[in-house]
């Protein structure tokens, strides 16, 4: 099994840390993983994206141009990465701020209103964990206890009191993700 | 030559002895040059303080590039201007050792300005001995950052025009303003009294290093009879009349008690 994922959005949305938690979850179940960010000045408030690969084999290239799954969190990323999803692949997006919804018919598309949900929960900072929950529902490739272990590993100890909040957000994401059907 | 009576060679008759921390190698410096005396004062102080087994010295690029041939302690030879960086690198991993640099004015005040200022600003516990003769000696008498206004050199054949070539740089006053320096002084070696003062200054500088007070910085205004195109006697006179008014001797900064 190999799963190649791109997570893309604005800097500050927690794109990179979401990828890190996912990668750590893979390690917790003995998988090979890679986490390759976009880096540089574009990250200072601009767009941020990260490629995560989970695999049962040695990972060859950590740099990819097509993906099994794209998690898209702003319009710029939609414009850039909708086309990069492999035929039959998966696109997950948060409709918040999206002006042009996905148009492809050869992929599965899911919507998750994570920004709205996190705001309703009064926990804007765990927005990315709501999205992660949604992904785990659609692609249950890593077990939930490994995700929790991965979360614990990737958070510095001084933030460990926030673990329950993050876990709650992931579980909420599992519940609210929906398949998106074009009219 | 009169025959020396062997029985005169008794310890109680000894009035002066070359320090063992100077090698027997003949100095490569020009007649009348201050380097030999400054080398000897540095080595005498190290010997008197019993520091020879824990000292690492840094030789620069310039006339004193071969200082390690004459100074009988562990030495490293640095790239041009980088001696304070080497000294920092050593002192940080061997804080209990005694570390000094020995640098000329081209080395310290031109190409090595950044290394000098930042080592002083970090307050590295090292001693910098800065020999200022207002000229690049080794390469044949070109203008140095310290060359006086109007002074002739091989690259200022009509004298240093400060409008075109900038002003002589007073590095010693400059580093004295930095909080990292503890002891900053300017001395000379043109007369026996001055030599004794220089030796005292070097001793103080090393004592402050051992007391971990920060960077100690000893400038020695010196001559360059070859570069200045003078006899040694004329060079010393010219130094007194021209260098000392611009580079006045004495302590500039002393540690607070």
């Amino acid at each position: 099994m190999t799963e190649e994922i791109i997570i893309a959005g604005f800097g500050g949305q927690g794109v990179l840390s979401m990828g890190k938690i996912l990668a750590y979850s893979g390690i917790m179940q003995d998988q090979e993983v890679s986490w390759m960010p976009s880096y540089g000045p574009e990250m200072r408030g601009g767009t941020a994206n990260v490629t995560v690969i989970l695999s049962d084999e040695r990972i060859s290239s950590p740099i990819l141009s097509t993906f099994d799954t794209a998690i898209i969190l702003n319009q710029q990323s939609m414009d850039k990465f909708e086309e990069a999803v492999k035929p039959g692949g998966t696109l997950i997006y948060d409709p918040n701020g999206i002006t042009r919804h996905p148009e492809r018919e050869d992929i599965e598309v899911y919507q998750i209103a994570a920004a709205e949900e996190a705001s309703n929960m009064g926990m804007n900072k765990v927005f990315n964990m709501v999205v992660l929950g949604g992904y785990l529902k659609v692609k249950p490739l890593v077990k939930m206890d490994n995700v929790i272990k991965g979360l614990k590993k990737s958070l510095p100890e001084r933030y460990h009191h926030l673990l329950p909040v993050n876990e709650k957000a992931i579980k909420r994401g599992l519940e609210i993700i929906q398949e998106y059907k074009k009219n | 030559m009169a025959e020396v009576k062997e029985d005169i060679k008794k310890p109680e008759n000894l009035v002066y002895k070359k320090t063992d921390l100077m090698t027997d190698k003949t100095l490569s410096y020009c007649p009348g040059c201050g380097h030999g005396v400054i080398h000897r004062m540095t080595m005498e102080v190290l010997e008197e303080m019993g520091l020879e087994e824990e000292t690492i010295g840094i030789a620069p690029v310039g006339c004193s590039v071969l200082a390690y041939e004459f100074m009988n302690v562990d030495m490293q030879q640095a790239a041009h201007g980088r001696a304070p960086a080497l000294a920092t690198g050593i002192k940080r991993v061997f804080p209990e050792k005694t570390v000094f640099t020995y640098q000329g004015d081209g080395d310290l005040a031109a190409i090595g300005t950044a290394e000098t200022i930042h080592a002083c600003n970090r307050g590295e516990n090292i001693t910098i001995i800065f020999v200022n003769n207002g000229i690049y000696g080794m390469t044949g008498g070109q203008m140095a950052p310290t060359t006086l206004e109007g002074m002739k050199s091989s690259t200022t054949p009509y004298g240093r025009d400060t409008k075109k070539m900038g002003h002589p740089l007073k590095m010693t006053e400059l580093v004295a303003t930095l909080p990292g320096t503890c002891y900053v002084t300017r001395q000379a070696v043109h007369k026996p009294g001055a030599v004794r003062k220089t030796k005292k200054a070097i001793k103080k500088a090393l004592e402050y290093q051992k007391a971990e007070k920060g960077t100690s910085f000893v400038e020695v205004v010196s001559n360059c009879s070859s570069g200045w195109k003078m006899t040694p006697v004329q060079a010393n006179k010219w130094m007194e009349e021209n260098m000392f008014p611009f580079y006045p001797l004495g302590d500039i900064k002393k540690p607070e008690k």
């Binding site: 890190k20 990668a23 750590y24 390690i27 090979e32 993983v33 890679s34 986490w35 390759m36 960010p37 880096y39 540089g40 000045p41 990972i59 060859s60 290239s61 950590p62 740099i63 141009s65 590993k153 990737s154 | 020879e52 087994e53 824990e54 000292t55 690492i56 840094i58 030789a59 590039v65 071969l66 390690y68 009988n72 302690v73 562990d74 030495m75 490293q76 030879q77 640095a78 790239a79 980088r82 960086a85 080497l86 000294a87 920092t88 690198g89 050593i90 940080r92 991993v93 061997f94 050792k97 950044a114 290394e115 200022i117 930042h118």
Partner: protein, 361 residues
């Protein structure tokens, strides 16, 4: 004992490796994309963990010269930088090679020339393997292609640098530095004591206790003596070329065509090999791990035995190809394929190039 596993960036892995390998000093200056090395080290407070010193210097020029000083005193000293900063260090590296001092430096290469881009590149191959500064010398150059290798090569580089008293370079790039992978950590090695330094490095300037003074210098004004200094250094290089070549072969047993690539390019080429094998093309990959010494003999022998064509893949305008061509020695076609200036070739494009330029021709 259970293995200690961590998800780390390449830049963090090498910093952790430095602490664990008993490195005495890191002197550095910030530059993208490798600033995480010093950030990780300062965050870890290695002064408390092992007594390791970390100091931010005023420039790359100062940091390499601080390393000269510490290495001259027998200490394990290292720095890291990226291409423009490494250019500034060339003077110091030449002096260290001349004075026969060991050290390790990491170059997380970015695209040049000039200020260039901060995106990954492999355009510093010439600079790393052919000397870089003035005079006849080489850097022992290792090229990691994973985060684990960033970690592992730190210690190996120090061992080689100390064995041959010569600076060693870890030639990485922005992709390896910035990406995270699983790393297996090993146990802490204690830093050398002063007694051990005096025993292991009798040449070091530690203060002349119970011995004659030691001098660390690269200066020898007498040309006859300077020639002898050079001959001694060259003798070391011949020994390094004989004994220290390292490489990895991927699907080379039956390979009729060969890719040669290191670092990030080698990762891309692994994918190309898969694509080729799916199409029934017998393609293999030779990944040089040491770029200096270069696996010259291995490539020559593969060309002699089985290989009909070679592509050297590099994120540059073509630098390693010169060494590949020397090894191939005109016996079969050998070409360079690459993207540069921060662009990364795709595995598909590499295969297409191989098919059209080598197999088709």
């Amino acid at each position: 004992m259970e293995k200690e596993l961590r998800l780390m960036k390449g830049n963090e892995a090498i910093a952790e490796a430095a602490i664990r390998a008993g490195v005495d000093a890191y002197y550095g200056y910030p530059i993208t994309p490798q600033s995480e090395v010093m950030e990780y080290l300062t965050e870890q407070q290695p002064e408390d963990r092992t007594g390791m010193v970390v100091l931010q210097a005023e420039s790359e020029v100062a940091s390499i010269n601080m390393i000269y000083g510490a290495a001259g005193a027998g200490k394990r000293a290292m720095t890291s930088s990226s291409s423009p900063g490494i250019s500034l260090m060339q003077e110091g590296l030449s002096y260290m090679a001349g004075a026969e001092l060991p050290c390790v430096l990491l170059n997380v290469v970015r695209g040049g020339p000039g200020l260039g881009t901060i995106q990954p590149s492999q355009a510093d191959y010439f600079q790393s393997t052919k000397g870089g500064g003035h005079g006849d010398y080489h850097l022992i150059t290792l090229a990691p292609s994973s985060v684990q290798e960033m970690y592992d090569f730190l210690k190996i580089s120090f061992e080689l640098a100390e064995k041959y008293r010569n600076p060693a370079m870890i030639l990485s790039d922005g992709a390896i530095g910035q990406m995270m992978e699983k790393v297996i950590l090993d146990e802490q090695v204690p830093r050398r004591t002063e007694e051990e330094i005096i025993k292991d490095f009798p040449w070091a300037s530690t203060g002349k206790k119970n011995r004659e003074r030691n001098i660390i210098t690269s200066l020898e004004l007498d040309p006859a003596k300077q020639e002898q200094v050079n001959l001694n250094i060259q003798k070391k290089y011949r020994e390094i070329e004989e004994k220290e070549v390292r490489f990895e072969k991927v699907q080379c047993d039956d390979a009729e065509y060969l890719l040669v690539a290191y670092g990030t390019s080698a990762r891309l080429c692994q994918e190309t090999v898969k694509l080729a094998r799916d199409k029934g093309i017998k393609l293999g990959l030779l990944r040089p791990i040491t770029l200096y010494p270069f696996p010259m003999k291995e490539i020559a022998s593969m060309v002699e035995k089985q290989v009909k064509g070679v592509v050297s893949v590099e994120m540059s305008a073509g630098q390693m190809i010169e060494d590949v061509k020397l090894a191939v020695n005109g016996k079969v076609p050998a070409e360079h394929y690459g993207r540069f200036g921060g662009m990364i070739p795709s595995p598909e494009d590499i295969l297409e190039f191989m098919e059209k330029q080598i197999m088709g021709g």
